[in-house]
Amino acid sequence: MSGLQTDGRVEQGRLLTVENLSTTFATERGPVRAVDQVSLSLDRGQALGIVGESGSGKTVLSRSIMGLLPSTARREGSIRFGDHELLGSGAVDMSKLWGREMSMVFQNPMVSLNPVMRIGEQIAEPLRIHLGMSRRDARATTVRLLRDVRIPEPERRVDQYPHELSGGMRQRVMIAITLACGPTLLFADEPTTALDVTVQAQILDLIAEQREERNMSVVLVTHDLGVVAGHTDVIAVMYGGRLVEVAPTAVLFADMRMPYTEALLQSIPRLDQPSHTRLTAIPGRPPDLLDPPRGCAFAPRCAFARDRCREEAPTLTPADNPEHRFACWYPVGSAEYLETRERIASGLTIGGRS
């Protein structure tokens, strides 16, 4: 793989540092802040899970880091990738990094591959653009990549069009495209949501396996805590454009503090339920980002919210474990939390649920 690498590549240690990143969209009805003051970091080889409901800003966050936003979006803050600053003056040309240093697996493989281009061409394109490979070398590499992502008969598949492949196969092709130039950072935005349940695990395992093999960092974006549980080192939970809880995966599952995270966990689908029911599992809707609530964004839907929650927004602060941060006034396990739970259990209701 040495031939594929760029000068100044991070071989170990800190790969990505995001500081106070905000992304605002100019819409007809006013500015919408879809990502609000997010800070996080990622080491080479690490896997980060960004978890939240649809509308929580997790997809915008990943695209903001990668710089794949429409022209109506404005980013503020700082994104450092290795030695490069990606934001503001002196930012590097993203299209030099895209596909080569960082790439993205999109949610729906049915619409994310070019329908009128052979899959071989689509995989070879970054190889030819970034690495200047000859047509023949690119084809050989393409076949090898298809084999890497477990596509049977790769020599035949290279010349097929996307519509000749199943959804799972197409997602494998997409992964092959993103892996082609050996990037150090891979974003996977709901990579399994559009796929059959039986294929989902295979795709996640494939990403994990390739991460291991290539010492690649992965950002896994999902609404499903169950997906990130076995495939990430760190989890960041998002709500209303903000991070509300960040912790190493094991710590989070052992001791989750944010009621929202807890609610998400309770909404993990079970195999006996149809997969699309899970999104509605938390009652109420995500906040209107045009007119965000004054206090904690989750307060209107939170069973444990009190007056302070509605008045004052909590910030992300470390718990006893400095790696575990959360934004909640009355976190899981606090006296107030326990009191409220007691009350709910005894059948009394309190205000707060909408």
């Binding site: 990668m66 794949l68 299209s95 030099k96 990094l97 895209w98 596909g99 080569r100 790439s103 993205m104 999109f106 729906n108 619409v111 994310s112 591959l113 070019n114 329908p115 009128v116 281009m117 394109e125 970054p126 653009i129 970034h130 069009y161 519509h163 997409m174 495209i177 993103t178």
Partner: protein
């Protein structure tokens, strides 16, 4: 396969219907004898009557309409377009066609080529800058061009490029060498091409803008493909459908327009041939030209269908 059989049947039906319509209209509305024989056709003098009878016999005008139609159809299918109705001998229709057809074909092919060569880059540029000032101005331009009647545009182009600037000749000489005639055909071709280009640009721009919002375009960008290459290699091909469909349908309209443009720039093509033939009620010539035009139209639309399958692997049947 089934599809192509159906397509072929429909095309043949269409050609038959058009030929019947033309044949019927000409024979029911016109009286060619007057044009062949002059005043003698209406005479009742014995020698005139004889002439009339002879002419009727010669052109089978004494037979009932359906029989004449079938006769004509049979001849035409075997490649015989018959002879011209004329008072001076009976030159074969095919002579006229062979002389005139290449000029009209050149004009039309040049026009469509020019139109595409203008429309595609124009659409790519405006789609990449959708709704920004350059695109807005272009929208106004194409609206003006589409509204412009071809004869008015012909006069304007003739005035600017032919008379004021003197860049292009205003005469067409059939005896000039091939390349000179192409040069002489440029201005007429541009007259046909400009409004067509505006129509194509509108369609292609809209489809490109839709395609550019597809996920696979974002995917291509995320691979590090440059904007330019995304536009040319990823967005253009899947956006060509409406453009190609209308390119085919438009051919019919352009043929109509080219009749007028030919006459303004004095190109002796099929346009002037059919006008002259209609005026002297020369049925075989009119029929031959109508059939050529309609066949060309049918062929272009079949080609359009074949091009579809080349562009999009999903519609391969």
């Amino acid at each position: 396969m089934n599809y192509w059989v159906q397509r072929l049947t429909a095309s043949i039906m269409l050609l038959l219907a058009v030929s019947m319509l033309t044949f019927g209209a000409m024979n029911l509305l016109g009286d060619p004898l007057f044009n062949i024989l002059g005043p003698a056709a209406a005479d009742t003098k014995p020698e005139s009557l004889e002439k009339v009878a002879a002419a009727k016999e010669l052109y089978h005008l004494d037979r009932p309409l359906p029989e004449r139609y079938v006769r004509w159809l049979g001849d035409m299918v075997t490649g015989d377009f018959g002879v011209q109705f004329s008072s001076t001998g009976q030159p074969p229709v095919s002579d006229l066609v062979v002389e005139r057809f290449p000029r009209s074909l050149t004009l039309l092919v040049m026009a469509q080529l020019l139109a595409s060569m203008i429309a595609i880059p124009w659409a790519l540029i405006t789609a990449a800058r959708a709704n920004r000032p350059a695109d807005r101005i272009s929208t106004i331009n194409s609206f003006l061009l589409i509204a412009m009647p071809n004869f008015a545009l012909a006069v304007i182009l003739k005035y600017i490029f032919g008379i004021k600037l003197g860049w292009f000749p205003l005469t067409f000489k059939a005896t000039d060498p091939w390349l000179t005639r192409i040069y002489q055909t440029f201005l007429p071709a541009l007259t046909i091409a400009l409004p067509a280009a505006a129509v194509y640009q509108r369609l292609l721009r809209t489809d490109l803008i839709t395609t550019l919002q597809e996920d696979f375009i974002l995917m291509a960008r995320s691979k590090g493909v440059s904007r330019r290459r995304v536009l040319l290699r990823h967005a253009l091909r899947p956006s060509l459908f409406s453009f190609i469909t209308v390119f085919g349908i438009n051919t019919g309209a352009l043929i109509g327009g080219s009749l007028i443009v030919e006459s303004i720039f004095r190109i002796p093509g099929l346009g002037s041939a059919i006008v002259e033939a209609i005026l002297r009620e020369d049925f075989p010539v009119v029929l031959a030209i109508v059939m050529i035009i309609t066949t060309a139209f049918v062929i272009v639309n079949v080609v359009v269908d074949i091009v579809y399958t080349l562009i999009d692997p999903r519609v391969r049947r």
